[in-house]
């Protein structure tokens, strides 16, 4: 027991003691792996009300950038002055990431960036997620979409192919790949990817359109037209498919068919790129709750004639943009369709207080007066509208309708004719003119109007049916 320790044994003891100090010091002085004050991020933002009544986020972009670096996130874009709704969501998800280091909040940060079209930071988030969760197809997919948006096509192809291998049933990934290969001139691979898309979703236009484009690039117009006709049959409101059909018909020498397809394309509501086709992208926009998302949804609701949905969306948007008289006009239009005339009047009156000379607003005000059979007000408001812009055709149409209701058919017909002259391509207005002419006893004029209509739109079945009826 009393045996003394050898010198090397004393060294070991000293080493043991020293290591204890090192361990303690290391525990005290090493920074935590990714330090962040979880509650700090949302407090970076405060909300102000702008002059036009909008709520806006105020925050120091430099401070946010520093915080992002501290927690290992990519540099954020400038967010000061932006809509507080997506900004708050973004900060909350950043905070959740800082607190948990879990992939779901990081994924949501990426998806919010994606929805607000900040493709650089979105790409960085998704690229990181492909390492953190390498088996998840969705991160590869989003990495591909963001790389594609930034023009980094090699990276986009690599990521989308990786996504497709992990999720072979993803038709949209196939379509995106088809487009990328087509744009670099690899027609064989483009055709293969579009064919996969078509096989996965034969009831949608994407694959058919792509195959049509590939065939057109090969100079096989007949095959291209066949594919594109299938595309527009599958998705009749796909204006892009109609445009490609138009170009291919033109190239094949069918000028009339090309013109009709082109006119059809321009009459369809034009949506924003991939948003309509891409459920994953739509989910990102819904997650971020951007105003643009609400606008797009309103456009789709308007195109589908869904006045209830349109009114709901417009109301939600106006909560965030209380002085947006454009949206007020849309809301008023929806309310008119829903027979909520008094509310429509209140909305449009409020909007006119903001924009007394707004053409659409005045027109909507006149529509309401027409519904209320207040014809004096209709004419007074239409006079004002016409003084601002005599070439605004809907004014003349509405005046024509009202004059007809006032038993002044000749004046009514003249007003509708003015509207038709100003906008010769609006077919329903031409049909209205023919109806008025026929009801006022001028059958020949009605026939001439319908013949002129069919010269412009030979496929219009209503015009043809009306003409046949009159000719009997």
């Amino acid at each position: 027991m009393t045996e003394r320790l050898a010198w090397y044994e004393w060294l070991a003891v000293l080493a043991l003691l020293a290591s204890g100090v090192v361990i303690v010091r290391a525990r005290v002085s090493s920074p935590p792996p990714l330090p962040s004050p979880p509650e700090a991020l949302p407090t970076l933002m405060r909300v102000e009300i702008a002059e036009d009544g909008r709520a806006i986020a105020r925050l120091d972009d430099d401070t946010l950038a520093t915080a992002c670096r501290a927690i290992g996130l990519p540099d954020p874009p400038r967010l000061d002055g932006a809509d507080p709704v997506p900004v708050r969501l973004l900060l909350e998800e950043m905070e959740a990431w800082a607190a948990t280091r879990a992939t779901p909040p990081l994924g949501r940060v990426g998806r919010i960036y994606q929805a607000i079209e900040m493709h650089g930071p979105a790409l960085a988030c998704f690229a990181a997620l492909t390492r953190l969760e390498p088996d998840e197809a969705v991160w590869q997919y989003f990495m591909g979409t963001e790389a594609q948006a930034l023009g980094r096509d090699d990276l986009a192809i690599e990521a989308l192919e990786a996504s497709r291998r992990r999720d072979p049933g993803d038709a949209t990934a196939c379509a995106r790949l088809g487009r990328l290969y087509l744009e670099r001139g690899d027609l064989d691979t483009a055709g293969a990817r579009y064919e996969q898309c078509r096989a996965l979703q034969p009831g949608r236009s994407l694959g058919h359109t792509g195959l049509g484009r590939v065939a057109a690039r090969r100079g096989d117009h007949a095959a291209a037209i066949e594919h594109l006709r299938r595309a527009v049959a599958a998705t009749p409101n796909d204006f892009l498919a109609y445009r490609h059909l138009s170009q291919t018909l033109a190239a094949a020498g069918d000028a009339d068919g090309a013109r009709r397809a082109s006119e059809r394309a321009e009459r369809l509501p034009h949506y924003e790129g991939w948003l309509v086709f891409d459920e994953k992208l739509q989910a990102s926009h819904a997650l971020a709750r951007t105003q643009r998302y609400l606008e797009n949804q309103m456009r789709l609701a308007a195109g589908a004639g869904d006045a209830t949905r349109l009114a709901e969306l417009a109301t939600r948007l106006l909560e965030r943009r209380p002085r947006d008289h454009n949206t007020m006009a849309l809301l008023a239009t929806a309310l008119i369709q829903l027979d909520r005339t008094e509310e429509a009047l209140e909305t449009v009156t409020g909007a006119l207080a903001l924009k007394p000379d707004g053409l659409r607003l005045l027109y909507t005000r006149a529509q309401i007066a027409a519904i209320q059979r207040d014809f004096d007000t209709v004419h007074r408001v239409l006079d004002r509208t016409e003084a601002i812009d005599p070439r605004f055709a809907p004014v003349h149409e509405l005046r024509g309708r009202v004059l007809f209701l006032e038993n002044r058919p000749e004046a009514g017909i003249a007003a509708i004719e003015t509207a038709v002259t100003l906008e010769p391509d609006v077919i329903p207005r031409r049909l209205l003119l023919a109806v008025m002419q026929e009801r006022s006893g001028d059958r020949d004029a009605a026939i001439r109007t319908l013949e002129a209509t069919l010269a412009i739109a030979p496929d219009d079945e209503r015009a043809r049916a009306m003409l046949q009826q009159l000719e009997r």
């Binding site: 045996e3 204890g20 932006a82 809509d83 960085a124 023009g151 487009r179 670099r184």
Partner: protein
Amino acid sequence: MMRARTFRSIILCLAAVAAAAGAALTSPRRAPVPPSPRQLAAEVLGEPDVRISAASTNSRVFTDAAPELGLVFHHDNDARGAYRLPEEMGPGAGLLDADGDGDLDVFIAGGGPLTGDRPARPCRLFRRDPAGYVDVTEMSGAGVPGPAYGVACADYDDDGDVDIYLTRLGRNALLRNRGDGTFEEVAAAAGVDDDGFGASCVFIDHDRDGDLDLYVVNYVGWAEERESPCYTILGERDYCNPLVYESPLADVLYRNRGDGTFEDVSMASGIGHAKGNGLGVIASDFDDDGWIDLYVANDQTPAFLWRNRGDGTFENVATHWGCAYDGRGIAIAGMGVASEDLDGDGRFDLLVTNIHGQTNLVLRNDGGTFEDVSLAMGLGVWSIPATAFGVALFDQDHDGNLDAYFANGDVNVDNPMPAGDNRYAQPDQFARLENGRLVDATAASGVTFADVGRGVAAGDLDDDGDVDLLLTNNGGPVRLLRNEQAGSDRWLKISARTGPGRRHAIGARLRLRVGGRVFTREVRPQQSYLCSGDPRVHFGLGDAVSPISLEIRWPDGRISQHEDLTSNTHVTFIQDDAGGASGREATP
């Protein structure tokens, strides 16, 4: 003894473990810090694929010489937080020899209030003197009030001096040159005072009757009352896109009667039957049938390609020829447009500038059809964040290959390539055509200008044989980019003149053959966006050796041949009555 040995062994083991643990904790390589998303992203993404040409390492390609030459102009865009569309469109400019002394003077479209609540700002004319530019606006009578946009310069009345047509927000102006460097405004008397919201404009002899007709592009039917609030994706107030106004306009074609007046033939020619949000226009014989066609870049509505039928009428074949949309079927935000033979096949291809988020558009002319080759030509990563308006295709360094200059400046507050204090400012870009690709050479060229770029007018402003650029900026100064190309290389400058006034033969096609290469150009001062450039045709000859021969197909279809031209000269050819041409050489 046994216990002591055990104790010692325990001490030694503990010491070893502790030492290892201490080393692990203090060694940075073993720190248990997981890689951050930033680090992981950097590993996955690497550097963007932006190719900077190794061959394009010329230092200081351009120098802004405007201040030292006295070319001082600051555009007033009347932006007062109301986000009104016309605020962001101008201005244009023109390079013309206004006083007939042989060098290029500068005309700049004025800005000023959109509504008459404060004094209007006049357009400005700067005369080129040996020492620099002199503002001669007042004495010349060229200072018609703005806001003005597009400029076209040509001798429309064939009296031997250059006149100016100007589009405005309101009635357009025609400044007739009296021959002494002074102007009178004669638009109403000449019948060309269209009152649409005009954009670019171009003089062409569309009916080949020997005088210059006029094509005017109209943008949208704008009125203050049509403005409505628009917002970015992040809910910020912003300028609206032109579709919001729901008021595309038809363009106007005026036929020159030959007596100083014009006749509106828009409807009779077919031009008036199509509407679009027009901004840029270029006149060129795209199908090589001897008749000048017109391509119109429309902003988010399908582009027009007006094929000249040769009987005074046009048909819009844009859809048929595949240039109404980009390759994806999108009606791009077409703004400026340039056209040259990019692939050396003798046909004129198109380069159309576009808004951020999409590439600028290159349409390859395959002879009656166009193909979108934007991505194949390299307009990917670097052109996507830019909103380009003005564009010039020219051979900056005389290597025989075309180069491209893009005047960038955003129209939205969510500018993805911001530069400087102005939210709309973006760096301009410069690219070189190398191996069939437009390669971003901005960094290597010394182009560091970040403005709200709009117009680019290209021309040899200092008559040293290379092409300089005049840049206009929205709400900012003009810049004169002097080409700093060294003078040891080979070039040729051609003037082709015709008619009683010996005006520049706009529409003439020039084929230059040298050293086995063929360069095809047209006399075409109107390019880019809202601008009129040098009517003289410039060729860089590269290392090709003589002999140099030239074929001119004059606007009336007759052809003249010219052999043994000398490089590094400016040669003027004047069409004679017999259809040939006499040559006259001059050094710069």
